[in-house]
């Protein structure tokens, strides 16, 4: 079997396949279907300083080859996570990446500090697709300066690797990526969901109670691959690619576009073991190419010298 182990932001991963935040809860539900130790990492559902109730229903609606969600980041808060879910998750031999959310820069920093003090967490992923309450509710993720401020504050609050997760709802994703890299990001996750909506033509009303929702699933894959490509050319930090990955071939597209690791999201809903299927497919693909995994990262780019992938010493043997 080919070796897909890889280092990212100082973390050694047994393989590059993760599960995406918000699609996998805190792992308990899917642990009934497979051993979480087989995953490269688990990115848990967003955690805030206090519990968030989330949005009223309907929170979800299916769209062509995709779905819109407006869960509203419902979560039981950082204390509950530390007390109940983290100790349980630590029982698995996988990396634990905790996704953090906040309504102000201070809230992000607070959650980051409390998680870091707990130990047993491998990295923090910052979901910047949250409304900035102090500045009129505009998403941190749509303003490079606001995003950079969050990353800086979290960096100051933690010793853990910090992985901002980019919102795709921007005109220039490369600019966002450069902003968070300059602010100290150790890696970058992309993409979060695309803002969309669906209207019930019989009721003549939006389907979702929240009106807007985030589009995910195969429908967004070409958009996400394009953004990974653009960001790969713009920054040097490693990328975690996601958006509509359903099988190994899809994951390979992200790797070739420049992702060092990938995350499986919506696909979990269709097959609880989707991440394992993606891993198996990716292994087959790498094997067929006869190349090493590291060599495939960004390999679709015409001039790879323009941005040298930091390869591990053994990777090219």
């Amino acid at each position: 079997m080919v070796d897909l182990s890889i280092e990212i932001a100082g973390m050694e991963l047994k393989n590059p396949v993760m599960v995406a935040s918000g699609t996998f809860g805190y792992g308990r539900e899917y642990a009934e279907f497979f051993d979480l130790s087989r995953l490269g990492a688990v990115m848990v559902k967003g955690v805030s300083s206090e519990p968030w109730t989330g949005n009223p229903v309907p929170r979800i609606v299916e769209t062509p080859s995709g779905m819109l969600n407006a869960i509203g980041l419902q979560n039981p808060g950082v204390d509950y996570f530390l007390e109940v879910d983290l100790p349980w998750l630590r029982g698995f031999d996988t990396r634990i990446i905790v996704n953090i959310i906040g309504r102000s820069v201070e809230e992000y920093a607070d959650v980051a500090a409390r998680l870091s003090a707990a130990g047993g967490i491998d990295a923090l992923e910052i979901n910047i697709s949250c409304p900035n309450i102090k500045e009129g509710g505009i998403q941190f993720g749509s303003d490079p300066r606001a995003a950079a401020r969050v990353v800086e504050a979290v960096k100051r609050a933690t010793h853990l690797p910090v992985i901002p997760k980019l919102s795709p709802n921007v005109t220039d994703i490369a600019q966002m990526a450069r902003a968070v890299e300059d602010a100290g990001a150790d890696a970058i996750s992309l993409v979060n969901t695309f803002l969309g909506m669906a209207i019930d033509i019989r009721r003549r009303k939006p389907v979702l109670a929240n009106v807007f929702g985030g589009l995910s699933g195969p429908a967004i894959r070409p958009l996400a691959v394009r953004m990974v490509w653009q960001v790969y050319e713009a920054v040097r930090v490693p990328l975690i690619g996601m958006g509509g990955i359903m099988d190994g071939a899809d994951a390979a597209e992200f790797v070739l576009a420049g992702a060092r690791a990938v995350a499986v999201g919506t696909a979990n809903f269709i097959r609880p073991t989707a991440a394992l299927d993606v891993l198996a497919g990716l292994e087959r693909y790498v094997e067929e190419t006869g190349l090493s995994y590291a060599e495939l990262i960004g390999a679709a780019h015409p001039r790879r010298t323009a941005r040298q992938e930091p390869t591990r010493p053994e990777a090219n043997q």
Partner: protein, 263 residues
């Protein structure tokens, strides 16, 4: 424990206008399924991601050879796709899911109240608990052409009264009229219901007034069906106050007063 499995479609038959019973081959994953639990069925063809999400359905009945069935109403793309399945085709199932109805051990006389496609889990309940309690079914439909299920209850020796909104079959009016009649005339010590939300709310109110323990099976739009995505929440009264619970995990069955309080 839930699992994903593929089994064969055995038969499809119309049971009412736009309603079909899909019979599928025995699979051990469903051997221990409890009434009120559900399955999440893939409706896209193998290899296709459109329609993307699985569709939740209640089990309708189990046959002597272990085959099982669902009854579904064609309302959109997913159920249209189901209606195109033919005997011998594969069906990809995730289940059993959720928490089903609880049988209160001392309950001897149970009333089952079903509205439309809420009838299936109650037939499965009747079949599973047959012989353990006396049961009577009250079934509500919009009109005669959409009615189904009473012969299946009868085959279990359970009397089923039907109400239709337009009076084209049975009582003219709501199934809750039948319920009020029953509770006025007889002693019932358990109420189990599934149907549209307004029906569930009315049933809860009537049950509360009559002081009869009542469980309701809810529907909500679902993503994962296993509790991971938090799409399917319902505000439920708990010791810690009103909290969102997951219809797919803590439900789909809840006690009436958990959801609607006491009246």
């Amino acid at each position: 424990m839930a699992e994903t499995f593929v089994t064969a479609v055995v038969a499809q038959r119309p049971v009412a206008a736009g309603h079909y019973e899909l019979i599928a081959a025995h699979h051990p994953a469903l051997d221990a399924v409890q009434p009120g639990q559900f399955i999440n069925v893939r409706v896209a063809r193998p290899g296709s991601w459109d329609p993307l999400l699985r569709r939740p359905f209640s089990l309708y009945r189990r046959f002597a050879n272990g085959d099982w069935s669902i009854v579904y109403r064609v309302v959109g793309r997913g159920t249209e796709a189901l209606a195109r399945l033919r005997p011998g085709d594969d069906i990809d199932v995730l289940g059993p899911l959720g928490r089903g109805f609880v049988k209160v051990p001392e309950a001897r006389r149970l009333l089952l109240v079903g509205g439309g496609v809420g009838v299936p889990p109650l037939l499965f309940l009747a079949q599973t608990w047959q012989g353990q309690a006396e049961m009577k079914a009250l079934l509500g439909f919009a009109e005669a052409g959409l009615a189904f299920g009473w012969t299946e209850f009868a085959a279990l020796g359970i009397e089923a009264e039907v109400a239709t909104d337009d009076g084209s079959l049975g009582h003219r009016g709501f199934v809750t009229d039948l319920l009020e009649n029953q509770l006025n005339r007889n002693e019932w010590d358990g109420l189990y219901a599934c149907g549209p939300r307004p029906m569930l709310e009315a049933v809860a109110r009537i049950a509360c007034r009559a002081g009869v323990p009542c469980q309701l099976a809810f529907e909500e739009a679902m993503g994962c069906g296993v509790g991971a995505c938090l799409s399917c929440v319902l505000p439920v009264r708990t010791e810690g106050g009103v909290q969102y619970q997951r219809v797919c995990r803590e439900g789909p069955v809840f006690w009436a007063e958990e959801v609607y309080g006491h009246g």
